[in-house]
Amino acid sequence: MAENGIGASVRRKEDNRFLIGKGNYTDDISVVGQTHAVFVRSPHAHATLNRIDTSAALAAPGVVAVFTGDDLVADGIGPLICGVTVTSDDGQPHRAPRHPALAQGKVNYVGDHVAVVIAETLAQAKDAAELVVVDYGVLPAVTNTADASQPGQPQIHNEAPNNVCFNWPFGEKAAVEAAFASAHKVSTLELVNNRMVTNAMEPRAALGEYNSGTQEITLHLTTQNPHVHRLVMSAFNNLAPEHKLRVVGPDVGGGFGVKIFVYAEELVVGWACRKVQRPVKWTADRTEAFLSDAHGRDHVATAEVAMDAEGHFLALRVMTQANLGAYLSTFGTMVPSYLYAFLLAGQYRTPLIYSEVKAVFTNTAPVDACRGAGRPEATYLLERLVDIAAADMGLDPAEIRRRNYIPKDAFPYQTPVVQCYDSGDYVAALDKALALADYAGFPARAAEAKARGKRRGIGLSSYVEACGIAPSAAVGQLGGGVGLWESAQVRFNPTGNVQVFTGTHSHGQGHETTFAQLVTELLGVPIDSIEVIHGDTARTQFGMGTYGSRSLAVGGVAIAKACEKLIAKGKKIAAHALEAAESDIEFAAGNFTVTGTDKAMSIAAVAFNAYVPHSYPEGLEPGFDENAFFDPMNFSFPAGTHICEVEVDPDTGEVDIVRYSAVDDFGKLINPMIVEGQVHGGIVHGIGQALLEGCRYDSEGQLLTASYMDYAMPRADNVPSFDVDYAPTNPPHNPLGVKGCGEAGAIGAPPAVINAIVNALGIRHLDMPATPEKVWRAAQQAA
């Protein structure tokens, strides 16, 4: 292993600038002549826009411009798009109502964009925004997932009768029904997967600048995927041609999915800076983030499993209603369909699976990917159902899982729901987790807690997820509008240091360290001589960005492939310089050597040689700079078992997580410290969903949890110190042997926590978030 190479817990290179306050976030950037945008947002969940009077706002001090939806239409800008098609049961594509960036004729959720006010100062823009007079015709609203498609509910879009976006059946219905009819036992569960507000620490922001000399727009954005933003805004929103649009995602303070999407504010800022010929900046305040960031989850589902007499799963049937909000966000249709139903096999050999997903529109903020995106919903449903099945069969939760796991010699394993799992050893992870959690010692701990008046519970969750989002073939088959490969460019400068350009984007994951470790391992260049560059369409080649735990599994491999190309070219250059045959050149630890001689040349010397070439033979190009693209053959399938132990105070309903053990298979780890941090963060996110985070709208569509006064985010004192270990397997299709780790905790944790609470109380089910009052009531009923 190279020093600081693969497997070393190198301290994060990027942290220096963050820790000394030199991070460069979108809102940190200010430019000469900058104006400020404030959006006028609908206070109503559902209303006609009868008239918008902007005259008083236009006359207010400092106001540069006020625009409405008509101005965008006049310039042919928009509407916003959804990039993935789902075919409904009538054979038609999902209903895709028009999604204007500034509302036209109607508003459909509280926070919907009605107008934008641009002024010299932020305070002036806010003052003027209050002067925009809007005559709303308030309509009844529907916010509840289960109610939205019922008869008699308010209709949100003419294009979507009964508010249904799609009704998507998948699987062999008749075979599943037959299996249920002859089953020894059927276990059933109805559950809600609670709606979440993603809450990245840095709110969304945009700064648009237009250069009238070059006709180029430069848009700094809080984005996880600058090239995707540029592509969508160019190809679909008509903002500017790609070569005249530069999108920069500078330092970004957390994404968790919510910064993947192309939002109204971003498009409007990009357009308005050209319209007013002045730079325009917008930064969401926290209330705006609550109202208008894409939310996550929000399912209501019924799940049934059919079993034989030994508790083997024979078939699974899942009926789901998924809330997509008022409009389709960029990947809104994909999350409750392909990213959800195709994970319903979980870690189990269940041979038959049937799923129906009805996706509905409601008068709420659009719903899209949030850390895990579909997989947490699938995992929560399945892992809750498995515990119910265990209870119904009188089996220990660990035992029923063990009986149904896909055995390690069955990989690659073709599930009945499209996915073909790459590698796994689920028993190994389970056994390791049981030992780490001292599962055997639980009854004694529970008895000790009981003597103190507390109720202890333990809960398991065995998850599998599909990440390393790619491969393009699969994504295309699934209706994706774009392929999902990744790109890299590895460039030596003449003096031997290296710039690595990646199409992924780091917004907290530590790519600048992990990718540098990869390059130091492969090329033998010291890690301090390697700089990782990302997030600027003017600096990096086209790439797909970061989400779905894909950056290392897809983008890392592209970097490795570029390094391989450099080594191959370096051999030619070294052969020329050392006057040897190319076939005699070997490369190891940063040096090219001639086999059987002491003649050697460092890779830095090769790089210098490549930029000051003399008499290169025909066919040998100068320069030392290579591109590579990687399109994997499959997704990556991290998996693991998490075990949560809780102590419930029956007097108050408070839940204390006293122990949490996670054993994951992420394949090979490049930087174990960073991976552990990702695991911790993911688990905390999952604990947040399980215990604290519940986004609530009232029946009129007002967001009741629109600030941290009412929306509870997990804090340090809500979580224990985690016990983390690994049970790696080698995914054969991934050249680096890596999987993805960023979402695993958020996927694995919720069912582990709820299973533990259910176990502590001796009840059948409790919906998330398990707030103190809910737990107290359940404890009262169970007592």
Partner: protein
């Protein structure tokens, strides 16, 4: 935030004079409620009169068998005060668990009780300890001070100078925190005083109140078990997305029991 005129008062008299001369002025103490409210454009005072420069409003004194704490004394100062820890440790503990460090370093005793948030901690302590509020005009007993949700007995030109807390024989505060805001869903302050047991309850109702039924039970039998048979009026309790009235009524009893246990 809308535009306003800022004044820094150097004396109580100057503060009152400025208030009287202004259109719609507000005093600002630590600003932990006032400023966020203004930032959200939910309040738009014409003038803000900063009380931070008035030395007479600061400080902690032991006066016989009582603590006198200046209105502008921050929560952090109260929490760290050796005098408070010695005379009324439960009060120091209460102050040390308000909000977060930033709030405690800015927020003040006077600001908190003048605002009288239904979920604030201090009102429960004032009520249970039989404290009195000294203003530029008079002295007001805690029982008479908190009059309704965000309402107090303070007159228009009245400014809190200090609060006098008689030392109890024993006291304890138990708070069940809102998981989001960490304000009190329910907070119960129990004090053994020379006049018997006093109980201050915050969070449960629109305004902090004396728990007379709880006091009656505890005056007969100062034990957690004494609370079991107390019936609290559920219909008077607050109910919101975090806690129903029934749950709050239950929590009042649980927190009271815990406070009794902590009193020893």
């Amino acid at each position: 935030m809308y535009e306003f005129t800022y004044h820094k008062a150097e004396s109580i008299e100057a503060a009152i004079a400025t208030l009287q001369q202004s259109d719609d002025a507000k005093f600002v103490a630590g600003g932990q409620t006032m400023l966020p409210t203004m930032k959200h454009r939910l309040a738009s005072p014409s003038d803000l009169i900063d009380l931070g420069g008035i030395a007479a409003l600061r400080g902690i004194e032991v006066n016989g068998d009582a603590l006198v704490i200046g209105a502008m004394t921050t929560h952090a100062t109260v929490a760290a005060s050796a005098e408070v820890k010695k005379l009324i440790p439960a009060l120091a503990g209460l102050a040390g668990n308000i909000g977060d460090p930033a709030v405690r370093n800015r927020g003040t005793l006077g600001g908190s009780i003048a605002n009288n948030d239904p979920a604030a901690d201090y009102p429960a302590a004032l009520i249970a300890l039989g404290a009195s509020v000294k203003t530029n005009m008079r002295e007001i007993a805690a029982d008479d001070f908190f009059t309704g949700m965000f309402e107090t007995a303070l007159a228009e030109n009245e400014l809190i100078v200090s609060v006098r807390f008689p030392k109890p024989q024993a006291a304890a505060y138990m708070k069940f925190e809102n998981p989001a805001s960490r304000y009190a869903v329910v907070g119960v302050f129990v004090a053994k005083t020379k006049d018997g047991i006093r109980v201050g309850v915050t969070g449960a109702t629109p305004c902090a109140h004396r728990g007379l039924r709880l006091e009656a039970a505890l005056n007969k039998d100062f034990s957690p078990a004494a609370i079991d048979s107390v019936e609290l009026p559920v219909e008077k309790m607050n109910s919101d997305i975090h806690a129903s009235a029934e749950y709050r009524a239950h929590l009042v009893k649980v927190m009271t029991k815990r406070a009794v246990t902590a009193c020893g």
